[in-house]
Symmetry: D2
Subunit: 408 residues, 4 copies
C-alpha cells in the first residue's frame, strides 16, 4: 500500500437520516443506504419505506428501525420527525419519479434537508414547483446525479476549469444500455414496468432515466450551459410507450470565445452495453475521455503530446479527485463509492449548517438547478422530436418565466 | 504458427498498372503502390505522377519506370497506353479530389479499368458525370474505400446479412481525428492545404475526407440504405473554409421490418484521436462493435449472452473474413493489408474479365455507386447544415434524376 | 438499472466489533472499518487503536467510541470486553505483522472471533503458535486475503471446480507494484518503513506483503496445493533489507491426473504498476484470466471458441459471483466491496454461531490454514533463494511436524 | 491523413532474390515473399522451393519464376546462380530448422547473402558450424527475428539505450499460444508435426519455436546479455516429444551498475492466447510495456508520472521507430510490415555492399550472433530442466570454445 490514510476531518455526530421509498426489493434504496453508511456520516433512524403499511413495517424492521419511527405516509413522517427532539435532519427520497415533488416539499418546508434521486420529477410543472419549494426553504436540496461523484470526473472538471484543454469545442456524451432490448415490461419486470410508464416516469424514457445523467455529466465536466438542442427519439420495441433510444445534437452557449457543440446518445436497446456512460470533451489544446465502467481511469491528451492515462489517486491526480478518494491508486473504487461521495459532500454541507459554519467552497454536489436542467433537457428532447428534430432553445433556469423550454 | 497457407488461387500474370498522381512526397500514392504490390497481382509500368514534367520524370525514375512510359499528362498517358500492345490494363488515380473525374473518364472511355481514391470527386456535378462515364464503359471502376477491406469488417457484414444480430436498429458511426486541431493549413502543411481548400476538396471538409469513410462503412456493414439525414457542421478553427467537425443524425430505409437510425460524428479537431474510425451496430438480437485502430478484433454480443471477442483468423472467423486474411490469428494485419484487399479483389475481377470468366460472387469492392452515395451524403450534410439541420431526404442513386439530394 | 435488489437475508443484530491497531493515519484500519460497515453487519464499539495511550484516546474519540471502551492495551481490552454483558463478539486485528500473534491469541482464548489482516504473522514460529491457538479456540479466525472477495474471482474458482477449463495445467500469478522503486523507507515514509523492516514485517518483503496475496489467489481459484517451489529474490534498491522483487517457479500436487506448474512474480519496483495483481489459469479445455485493477471482468476462453468477457452480475455470472454482488452489471464494484465481502461472509458465519445454526456451506472466507500456507510460502521462497533457487518442498499444513518447509 | 510520405531514399535496383523452401502450402514462405516485396527492394527470380522436383516445379510456376531458375536442389541452385551474370544476390531460407545449416553454407561460401528463418538451426553443433561459415564469408547473414522489426520495439530499445528508464532491473518476457493445447500432431496437422518432432525442430519445442523470439526480443530491447538461467520445461500433452511450456528465470550480466533479472514464460498450451508475445522492462527510473497483438502501442511510465501511451508515428515517436514506419499514426501496421522491415534493413545493407558504401549505422537486423544466442538459450533451457532447474551459465558467443553452454 502506497499512501497514508487521507487527512482526517474532525469527527462529527452522524446525521440522523430518514428515507422515503426504498422498501424491500427496491434497487436504488439499497444503494442510497450503502452510500449513506460508507463514510459513517449518516445514521438511518426513520423511514416511510413503502406506502403499504405492512410492507413499510416489514421493510423498516428489516433495517432495524425503531418501530415508532416506521411510517407508511411520508407526510406523517415529516410532521412527526420535525417535532421530535432528535428527529431526522435529512431525508433520502428514493421513490419512483412521480412522487419526488410531493414528498420533497413536505420535508423542505419543515427545514429537513432533502437528498433526492434523479430525475427531479416526472413533469416539468412539478419540477418548477419543487424548485420554488427548494428556493424558499432553508434546507439543502441534493440531487443524486451520482456519476459526478467519481474522482476522475471531478478531476476532468477541474482540469477543464484550469484551462488544461483550452476552450472547449466538443462535448460527446453517450449512455448506452441493453436491458430493454426486449419488451420485458410486458412480462412483469418491475424496474422495467415503472421506468417505461409515462405516469410514473414522466415524458422521457431513456432520456429521463439515463440521458439526464449523461447530460448532467457533460455540463458538470465541461462547465458549459446548453443553448439549444435537436433530438430524434425512438421506441424501437413494439408497444413501448416511452423512448428507448435518443439521438441528440447540442449547441452550447459561448464560453472562452468558443461555441461548443455536442452529441448525446442514450439507449436502452444496444446489446452488449451494460451501463456504458462515456464522456469525451475536446478543446483547442487537448482532450479528455472517461468511461463509467472503468471509472478509475481518465485519458488526457495535451494536443501534440502522447496520451496519458491518469488514474485515481495516482501520479497526476488533482486535488479535486484526491478529496473524494479513499484508497491508494490501483485499488479500484466503484459506483458505490462515487454515490457515497455525493452523500459525504452533502454531509459536509449539513455539518457546516449544523455548526453555523460556512460550507467549504470545495464541497460539490448536484443541486435543484441541476435537476431543473435535466427536466428542461428531457422536455426539450421530447418537444424537438415531436417537431421532427427542430432546434429547441433552452433558456436560463430562473424561475422558469424567461425560459422558452419551460414556457414552451 | 497455427495455420497452413491459405488455399492457392491459380497464378495469373500480374496486371499492368498505371498511376495518375502520387509523385514523391504524396502519402496516398505510396499507400496505393504498396497495396497493389502486396499480393503480387499488379505491376506498375506507367505513370503520370505529376503534372509538372520535371517532377513527373523524377518521380517516375524513382519508381523504376521505363522513361518512355513516364507522362506528365494523364490524357496523353491514356491515349498512348491504350494503343500499346502491352499497355496498362488498369490505372490508379490518386490525385486530389478535383482531378478524379477528368482523369477517370479518359481511361474509362478507352476500356482501362480505374481504381480511384475517395471521395469520388469534388463536386456532385462531376460525380454524376463520372457515374455516367463508368456506366457507359466496359471497364471496371473501383473506389478505394479501403476500410471495407478489413477482414473483421467483412465478417461483421456477413454476420448481419446472416441475421445474427436480428433486425438492425442502430448504426453508430464515428471518425474522430485531431491533426487539424490547429490551423496548419496556414503554415504550409501540404496535406492540410488541399484538404481544407474547397477548390480542390469540394464542399465537404471532414465530411468528405473522413465522414464518407464512416458513412460507407456503416452502410457496407449494416446493409442499409439511407433515407434522410440532419447535420450540423462546423469549422472550429478560425479561418478554416471547410467543415472540420460534423454531427449528423440519420434515418435509414426500412429493412426486415425495422427502420434503423444512426449517428455519425466525424472530426479533425478532437485531440487524442489519431484515426478513430469506429462502427457499432445494434439489432433486435445482438450487437457488433469494431474500431479501426484495433482492426483484428470484432466484439459480438448475442443479446443475453456474454460479449465475445472475435479475432481475425481466430475461432469464429467467418468465410468472408477468412478469404481476405493472409496470416494466422494473433499476428496483426493492418491498414496496408486492408487496402491491399481492395486491390486484390479488383485483381480477381480484372483477371476474370481478362479470361472471359464470370467474377466470383464473393468478390467485393466499393463501386461507382458507393462513390455516388458518398457524394450525396456530403452534399446532403452541407445542405442540411446550411438549413440549420433540417432533414434532407436522399433518394435512390439512379442517374440522379429521381433523387432529391442530387436534384436539391 | 436492470436488476432487482438481491434477495434479502433476515435482519440480524449487527455484530459488536473491536479493533486492535488502525489509529489515525493507518491506511488499512480505515479500510477494515469501511468493509465492516458497508453491509451493516458490524458495529465498531471498542478499540485498542494504538499502544500509545494519547493516540489511542484521540483515535477512539475520532471514531465516536464510548470513552470507557477505548484501550491502549489489547490484552486489557480482551479481558474486559470478554466480561462485559455486551462486550465485543469479534475483533479486527490490523497492526503491523509482528503483533498479530500476540493480539490474536488473547481474543481467541476468550472466545472472541478474530478477523486478522495478512500475512498471518511475521515469523513462521509465531504462525505455528497462532494456528494452535486458533485450532484450540471455539472462535472463528478469518484472514483478510481480501482479493478472494471479488465476485469474478469467486466465479473463476467455481468454474474451475465445475471442470469448465478441464484439468488445470498452468497457474500464472503476478503482482507488480512500483511504490518502492526508490528508497522511500529512508526518508521516513511510514508504510514503507515498517514494510521493509524485518523486525516488523518478517523474513519476506514483497513476498510477504503481496506475494502471499498472489499465491493465495492462485491456490484459491485453481483449487490446487503447492508441492514445491524455486525462488530468486532480490533487493534492487540499495540498502533495502527485504526483498522488493521475487521470481518464483512452482509445481503443484497432482489433481485430475495433471501436475500443474506455475510462475509467480511479485515486485514493488516495477514502474507503471500501481497494484497489478493478475491471475491466469489454463487447463486442458480452456483458460481464465483476471486482473485486479479491472475486477469486474473475467476473460474466459473455452478452447477452440472465441474469448468471452464475463462481467460481474452480467450474462453468464455464476451463483458464486452473484451472492457477493450488490449492484447490477456495468456499475463497477471495487476493492472496498471485495474487502467487505470477506467481512460479510464472516458475519454470516458469526451469525450462524450466535444462533446455534450450521453455517451455510456457500460461506467462504480465508482461514488460519490459508494464513499458514502463506507463511510457508514466504519461508520457502526465502530458503530457496538463499540456496540459489533450489527446489523446496512444502508439505501439508498439519501441525507443522510432517512439513519440510516448516521443519526446515 | 496527417503526414507526408517519409523522406525518400534514392531508388536502387531491386535485389535479385532466391528462395529455399516455401513451396505451396508453407506458411512462412509466403510471409517471406510478402515481406520481401512490400517495400519493393527485392525481386524473386529463382527458387528451390521443394526438394521434390514436381512440387518444386509447380510451386515455382505458381510464383511466375523462369523455368530455368526453378531448382529442386539448393546446392545446384547455389552453384548455378553464382555463375550467372544476373544470378541471385541473396537467398531466403525458409525450410524446417534442420535444413538451415546445410543450405545456408552453400550460399555463404559463394558470397550470396543469406536471409534465414529462425531458430538458427536444429542443433547447437550445426549452429556453431553455421556461425563459422557466416564469419568466414563476405556475405551478410540476416536472421528473421521479425518481432524486432516492429517500430515500437525499435523505439523501446532506443529509449532504454538513451537511459529513459534508468538502469534496467527487470526483463519480463512471455509468449503464450494455445494452438498445441491438444495433440494435433497425431492427427496430421503439418505445422504441428514438424514443430513437435526433435529430428526436424531440434531439442527445443516451445522454447525453440517461440521462446527464442521472446528471449531475442528481451535482449534486443534491454541491451542486456544473459549470464545464467534456470528452467522448468514440460510437455503437458500426453505423447508430445518436445516441450510445450517453459518457465525460465534469468539473470543478466551487470550493466549500468545493476544486475537485472528476468522471467520468461513460453507456452503452446494456454487457451485464449493466440500469439501473446509480450515484453515488459523496468528500470530505476521508469518502465516500458509492449504486446505483439497490439503492436502500434508502447506504454511508457517515467516513474512518478502518469503512464503514457506512445503510438507508432504518433506524438513522441522516436527516430528509430520513425525510420521503419510507412504510414501515419492511427493507421495500424502489423506483422507483415514488421517482417518487411527486416527485409528492408537487409536491403539497405546489401545495397551499401553493392555500391561499395559503408552501411548506415542505423541499419539494424538480427545477425548470426543473435541466432547463436537463441541456440544457446534453448540448449541451456533443456539442460537446466534436465537437471531439475539448476542454474546454467551461458558464456560469451566467441567461437563457442570458451562458452560453458556450448561446451556443456
Amino acid at each position: 500500500m502506497a499512501i497514508e490514510g487521507s487527512s482526517k476531518e474532525t469527527r462529527q455526530e452522524p446525521i440522523r437520516l430518514g428515507m422515503v421509498g426504498g422498501g424491500s426489493g427496491a434497487f436504488i434504496g439499497a444503494v442510497h443506504r450503502i452510500a449513506a453508511r460508507l463514510d459513517d456520516h449518516f445514521q438511518l433512524v426513520a423511514g416511510a419505506l413503502s406506502s403499504t403499511p405492512d410492507r413499510a413495517r416489514a421493510s423498516g424492521r428489516e433495517l432495524g428501525l425503531d418501530p415508532s419511527r416506521i411510517y407508511s405516509d411520508f407526510r406523517e413522517m415529516a410532521i412527526r420527525e420535525a417535532k421530535l427532539k432528535s428527529g431526522i435532519e435529512a431525508v433520502a427520497i428514493v421513490t419512483p419519479n412521480h412522487v419526488h415533488y410531493a414528498a420533497a416539499k413536505e420535508f423542505l418546508k419543515r427545514g429537513i434537508h432533502v437528498i433526492c434521486d434523479k430525475p427531479l420529477t416526472s413533469t416539468l410543472a412539478d419540477a418548477k414547483k419543487l424548485k420554488r419549494a427548494a428556493d424558499e426553504s432553508d434546507a439543502l436540496f441534493v440531487l443524486t446525479h451520482n456519476y459526478t461523484g467519481y474522482p476522475m470526473v471531478r478531476q476532468a472538471r477541474e482540469m477543464i476549469a484550469n484551462g488544461e484543454i483550452g476552450a472547449v469545442r466538443l462535448v460527446q456524451m453517450e449512455y448506452p444500455q441493453d436491458w430493454l432490448t426486449e419488451s420485458i415490461e410486458q412480462s412483469g419486470q418491475k424496474q422495467a414496468a415503472w421506468r417505461t410508464d409515462p405516469a410514473r416516469s414522466g415524458a422521457g424514457g431513456s432520456t429521463g432515466d439515463i440521458g439526464t445523467h449523461a447530460y448532467n455529466l457533460g455540463c458538470f465536466v465541461s462547465g458549459l450551459e446548453l443553448e439549444e438542442l435537436a433530438a430524434d427519439l425512438d421506441s424501437f420495441v413494439p408497444g413501448r410507450q416511452l423512448d428507448d433510444n435518443a439521438h441528440v445534437m447540442l449547441r452550447f452557449k459561448e464560453k472562452d470565445g468558443a461555441r461548443a457543440k455536442g452529441m448525446l446518445w442514450c439507449s436502452q436497446v444496444a446489446p452488449g452495453n451494460e451501463n456504458g456512460l462515456m464522456l469525451r470533451v475536446y478543446g483547442s489544446k487537448g482532450g479528455l475521455e472517461w468511461t463509467q465502467k472503468d471509472p478509475n481511469y481518465l485519458w488526457y491528451t495535451p494536443f501534440g503530446e502522447p496520451k496519458r492515462l491518469l488514474t485515481r489517486a495516482g501520479a497526476g491526480a488533482s486535488p479535486a479527485a484526491a478529496r473524494v478518494s479513499r484508497i491508494p491508486s490501483g485499488h479500484p473504487e466503484g459506483y458505490l463509492e462515487a454515490f457515497a461521495n455525493i452523500y459525504t459532500e452533502a454531509a459536509r454541507a449539513i455539518h457546516a449548517r449544523r455548526n453555523g459554519e460556512t460550507v467549504d467552497p470545495a464541497v460539490t454536489y448536484p443541486t435543484i438547478d441541476d435537476g431543473m436542467k435535466g427536466m428542461i433537457f428531457v422536455d426539450a428532447c421530447v418537444r424537438s422530436s415531436k417537431r421532427n428534430g427542430a432546434w429547441i432553445k433552452v433558456g436560463g433556469l430562473g424561475d422558469g418565466r424567461d425560459n422558452s423550454a419551460v414556457a414552451g
